[in-house]
Amino acid sequence: MEERRLGGWLFVLPAALFIFAFTNLPLLATAVTSLYAAPIAGHGGGFVGLRNYLDLLADPGFRQSLVNNLLYAAVTVPAAMVLALAMALGVNAAIPGRAFLRLSFFLPTMLPMIAVGAIWLFFYTPQYGLVDRLTRLIGMGQINWLGDPSTALPAMMAVAIWKEAGFFMIFYLAALQNISPQLREAASLEGASRQYFFRRVTLPLLGPTTLFVAVTATISAFCVVDHVVEMTQGGPDNATSLLLYYVYDTGFRYWNVNSAAAATIVLVLILAALAATLFGLVGRRVHYR
C-alpha cells in the first residue's frame, strides 16, 4: 500500500531525528574527535591518529580510572546480585514484618544517587558518622573512610551496592513468585531436600533474570558516577576515579576535549563488548520466553 511507504517514515522521523542527533551522531563525532588534537604549545593541532589513546595509556590518572572501574564493576555487580537474591528469598518466605523488610531493601533505589551520596557522606564522616562510631565501639581506631586511598574505593562500592541491590531484588522476587508451587510439591513428594531443590530447580529457573540483572548492573557500574562527583571528586589521589568521571573531569574541568573523547570511546568499547557477550549468551544458553 502506497500510503504506508511514506507514512511509515513520517511516523518514525521525529523520534529518529532526536536519537540520531543525540546518540548516533555524537557517537561518531566523538570517535572522530578522539583522533584529532587541539593546537597547543609544542604540538601542532590536526589529525594525530591514535596518539590521544597512547597518551591516555601513559596517563596514570586514566590507567587508575580504568582499573578502578573494572574492579568496581567486578565487586559491586556480583555483590549486589547475591544480596538481591538473598533479599528476594527472605522476603518471599513467610517472615513476620516482611513488608517493612521489603521497604527497607527497596527504598534506597528510589532515592536519587545524589541523595544517597549525601546520606553516605554523613554516614562516613570521621567522628560524627555512624560508621566511625561503630568501628570505635568495637575497638578499631578512627578511620577516614573516604579520605584514605586504601579504603575510599571500597567505601564507594558499598554505596553503590546499597543503592542497587534492592532494585535487583524485585526482579528476583518476581521470578521466584513465577515458579510453580507444583514443582515444589512434586519435589517434596520425591523426598528432595530444600538445598537440592534450590540448586537444581530454583537457580536454573532464575537464569534469564540473572542475565538481565547482570547486564543492567554492569551498565550502571560504568555509567553512574554521580556519587563520585559529589563525595570524592575522584580522590584521594584518583583512588575513586571511574571512567565516566575521568571523561567529565578531562572534558569539563580541563577542557581537553580530544582526550575526553578518546576516554569516552574506551568506555563505549567496554559497553559494546558487554553487548556482544550478552547477545552471544542469549542466543546460545539462556532460555527466553
Binding site: F11, A16, F20, L107, P108, M110, I114, A118, Y128
Partner: protein, 275 residues
C-alpha cells in the same frame, strides 16, 4: 513458600532473626539521616530516646537555598521530557510494529544502539551540539537529548504487536485514518505499558544528575539534584541536620509517590526491565 508458624516456622527462627538483622542494617543509613533531620543539630549525632523533635531543619534548609525554584525546574524538566518521549515513541513504535517502509529494520537496529550507549555518556559532543543550538543553560536542554527514547519505542512496539489486527482492520473498515487507528485502538489498549514507561522514565529523569550538572549554570535552570549537590558539599562547615533535611525533602515527592503506588511502581520496573 514457607508455612508461617508451626514446627517448621520455629526451626527457621535463627534464619529469620538473621534476616531481620540484615534488613535493619540495610535501613541504617536512611534511619540515621531521618534521625538527624528531625532533631535539633545538637542531637544530630547523639542518640537520646527522648530527644526533642523538630521541623525546624526542614524550614531552615528550605529557606537557605532556592529549593522552591529547584523543585519547579525539576518538575518542568521531567514533564517536558516524559511527555515528549511518550508522543515521539508512540508514533515510531506504531510504524515499527504495523507499517512497512523501506529501511525499516536497519533503522530500528540503528536506534537500538541507544539501549547500550545512552546520551548521558556522550557528554562532550552533546554539550557542543546543545551550545550550537543556543540552548545551553536552559531547562529544555536537559531533556532534549533524551526526547527520542529507543527504550520507549521498544517497549511500545512489543506491546503494539500483541494487539489483534482484527481490531485494527475493523477500525480501518470504518474509515479511520492511520493516526485515528493509533489513537483509538492502539493507545487505549496499551495503558499499562504507558504507565510502566512513564513511571520508570519519571524516576530516571527526576534523579538525573551529570548531564544537568554539565549543561545548567544558574539557579533559574538547575534541577533539584544539582541544587542538592551544591547544598550538600559546601566548601566548609557542613551542618548535617540541614543537609539531611534537604536530602529527604528533595527525595520526598518520589518516595511518597512510591509509598502510595508501590504496586504500580514495582510492576512498572518489572515490565520496563523485560527487554
Amino acid at each position: 513458600m514457607m508455612r508461617p508458624g508451626g514446627e517448621q516456622g520455629w526451626r527457621r527462627l535463627p534464619g529469620a532473626v538473621l534476616f531481620w538483622l540484615f534488613g535493619l542494617v540495610w535501613a541504617l543509613p536512611l534511619l540515621y539521616a531521618i534521625w538527624s533531620a528531625v532533631h535539633p543539630p545538637l542531637y544530630s549525632t547523639v542518640f537520646a530516646l527522648f530527644a526533642p523533635l523538630t521541623w525546624h531543619n526542614f524550614a531552615q534548609a528550605w529557606n537557605s537555598a532556592p529549593f522552591a525554584r529547584y523543585f519547579l525546574n525539576t518538575i518542568f524538566l521531567v514533564s517536558f521530557t516524559v511527555a515528549g518521549q511518550v508522543v515521539l515513541a508512540t508514533l515510531a513504535a506504531f510504524a515499527f510494529a504495523r507499517l512497512s517502509f523501506p529501511g525499516r529494520d536497519l533503522l530500528f537496529a540503528l536506534l537500538l544502539v541507544q539501549l547500550m550507549i545512552s546520551p548521558a555518556i556522550l557528554l562532550v559532543w552533546n554539550y557542543r551540539e546543545i551550545s550550537w543550538l543556543g540552548l545551553a543553560n536552559t531547562i529544555p536542554a536537559m531533556g532534549i537529548p533524551y526526547l527520542g527514547s529507543a527504550f520507549g519505542i521498544f517497549l511500545l512496539r512489543q506491546n503494539f504487536r500483541t494487539i489483534p489486527s482484527e481490531l485494527d482492520d475493523a477500525a480501518r473498515l470504518e474509515g479511520c485514518s492511520l493516526l485515528g487507528r493509533l489513537w483509538k485502538v492502539y493507545v487505549p489498549l496499551s495503558r499499562s505499558t504507558y504507565i510502566a514507561f512513564a513511571l520508570a522514565s519519571i524516576s530516571y529523569h527526576w534523579n538525573d544528575f551529570l548531564w544537568p550538572l554539565v549543561i545548567s549554570d544558574s539557579v533559574s535552570t538547575r534541577p533539584l539534584t544539582v541544587g542538592l549537590e551544591i547544598f550538600a558539599t559546601p566548601d566548609q562547615g557542613v551542618q548535617w541536620s540541614l543537609v539531611t533535611a534537604a536530602t529527604l525533602m528533595s527525595s520526598a515527592p518520589l518516595l511518597i509517590a512510591f509509598l502510595l503506588f508501590q504496586r504500580q511502581f514495582v510492576q512498572s520496573f518489572l515490565r520496563a526491565g523485560i527487554r
